[in-house]
């Protein structure tokens, strides 16, 4: 069953086609890296998928349903590009923030019962952030904040995880640790992952498919397909395509060795 389905989707902002005739399908268990330069429409694409933006034409399906009419939000975990308020006095503790995730799709008045509180604790423990449960989210380091947002996204055991540049504000080691967590979720819990990044060099280490957009779709497929794709060769040039493939093979091998 397809989790995400885009058919000839066009999104227009200020008279410009930010997404121009984009079509692709993501199947259950896929890990797709959405790659492109700044302004290429990556964030617009996932906001259209999540029903935050409405496309001008084409069809978007999330678990087979138009996102605007989609109700089963417990199936979706989302980490936006900018999650944490700049105010470090924002009075939300880690456990409160994660608990909010559990309220997805509930009817009002929403309450967190003892089973819910236990689930929050279990999620904090799984992500190794139990010791900061009562700290204010705004006062944590960037890496800790991203773990908290991941915990909020995961507390419902989602089937699809959508992440918008989750490591952009992290240093290299925190970014690597975070990406390993996502890869483990995809491999062990079979969570479908859609991850926006501009880091084409490293995404191959984690994702099994790449969607490269530049407002139009440049390439969608596995990294093996990418290396022999004439479209990719035409867009990137043969030399750049070779470098990306070489880097992917090298990084993948390194990742496998480290994981073994």
């Amino acid at each position: 069953m397809s989790v995400v389905d885009f058919k000839k989707v066009t999104y227009i902002a200020s008279g410009k086609a930010v997404l121009d005739n984009i079509s692709f399908t993501v199947s259950e268990g896929n890990f797709v890296g959405i790659v492109g330069q700044n302004g290429s429409g990556k964030t617009t694409l996932i906001k259209t998928l999540l029903g935050l933006f409405k496309q001008a034409s084409g069809e978007v399906k999330l678990f087979g349903v138009d996102p605007v009419r989609f109700k089963d939000w417990r199936k979706v975990g989302y980490i936006p590009q900018k999650v944490i308020t700049g105010d470090n006095r924002f009075p939300l503790t880690v456990s409160e923030a994660v608990g909010l995730g559990l309220l997805s799709g509930m009817k009002n008045p929403k309450t967190l019962n003892s089973a819910g509180r236990a689930k929050v604790l279990a999620t904090l423990k799984a992500l190794d952030i139990t010791e900061i449960a009562e700290k204010l989210v705004g006062r944590l380091s960037g890496g800790q904040q991203q773990r908290v947002m991941l915990a909020r996204a995961l507390v419902n055991d989602p089937e699809l995880l959508v992440l918008d540049e989750p490591t952009a504000a992290l240093d290299v080691s925190a970014g690597e640790a975070f990406m390993k967590l996502i890869r483990d979720l995809n491999e062990k819990r079979k969570v479908t992952v859609l991850l926006v990044t501009h880091d084409i060099a490293n995404i191959g280490k984690y994702a099994d498919k790449m969607l490269y957009i530049d407002n139009k779709m440049v390439f969608y497929g596995t990294f093996g397909d990418f290396c022999i794709s004439p479209d990719a060769a035409l867009y990137f040039g043969k030399y750049a395509q070779h470098i990306i493939c070489h880097r992917h093979d090298h990084e993948k091998a390194e990742g496998v060795t480290r994981g073994a």
Binding site: T85, E96, L136
Partner: protein, 268 residues
């Protein structure tokens, strides 16, 4: 000082003031965190217009103010969301329109009369039992609605985009928040007056935010700050023969300074 409790006007002031202060403080936490706290100031200026209108037509200002201020609050929200106007700009536009309208109506009715002045600066010590009952009932209604929408309000205040992806209708939540604020502003005008009503919404919330507590505890702390300000302010006003509204705001500010100092000392 305690003999003041024997007077009916003090009893009425304490009862109405206690409910309204808690109400303002609870809503204030959400408004301050959404950086929308000046909406109280803007709506109070619209209240000035609606009171002038009520007095002009010789009807109860409260009956005119509730619908006029509610519609204005939705207007501010619409300007912000659909008109792509910044929140403070939208508040400024509606606020100045309210003042201008109020001045025109006051001028048509032959200038500012005593009634209008009492609304400008508050007159908690002269409120009637019917107004106390209305304040208590509406406060209870607003607090019940805040409890009903509590988690939606918290989620939309923290991260509106993610709240939408949780299936929360953030447009409706924002409407509920501004409508509750408009009701609260109208209710507060008799207590602190139009000129000082935004302090009721902002200062207790700002004081509680200095303490670095969880969301739930921050709301409780803001309610406590608001409650203590009103009760102390009324007693100080009685003892020192000072205006009640201004006394309440001064106590509120002293509590803010104490919370700010505590934060500096504890390094929170």
């Amino acid at each position: 000082m305690l003999e003041a409790l024997h007077y009916a006007f003090i009893q009425k002031a304490l009862l109405a003031g206690a409910f309204i202060s808690v109400l303002c403080a609870v809503l204030g936490v959400f408004l301050v965190l959404k950086k929308f706290s000046l909406i109280g100031d803007g709506l109070s200026h619209v209240t000035f217009f609606s009171i002038a209108l009520g007095l002009f037509f010789k009807t109860s200002p409260l009956y005119v103010s509730v619908p006029v201020v509610a519609v204005s609050s939705l207007g501010i929200l619409k300007l912000t969301e659909k008109g792509k106007v910044f929140g403070d700009t939208a508040i400024g536009i509606v606020s100045s329109l309210g003042i201008a309208g109020g001045i025109i109506i006051a001028s048509l009715s032959g200038g500012f009369n005593v009634d209008l002045m009492s609304y400008l600066f508050g007159s908690i010590l002269t409120i009637q039992w019917a107004e106390v009952a209305l304040s208590v009932a509406l406060s209870a209604l607003v607090i019940a609605l805040v409890i009903f929408y509590y988690h939606d309000l918290v989620a939309a205040t923290f991260d509106e985009e993610s709240a939408k992806v949780m299936g929360i209708n953030t447009g409706r939540v924002n409407k509920v928040l501004v409508l509750l604020t408009s009701l609260t502003v109208v209710l507060s005008m008799r207590i602190v007056g139009i000129m000082l009503v935004s302090s009721f919404l902002i200062i207790p919330a700002a004081s509680a935010l200095q303490l670095g507590l969880s969301f739930r505890s921050t709301i409780l702390a803001a309610a406590a700050f608001g409650f203590v300000s009103v009760i102390s302010g009324i007693f100080i006003s009685y003892a020192a023969d000072l205006p009640a509204g201004a006394s309440i705001v001064m106590v509120s500010f002293i509590l803010f300074c104490a919370a700010f100092g505590l934060r500096k000392v504890t390094g929170k």
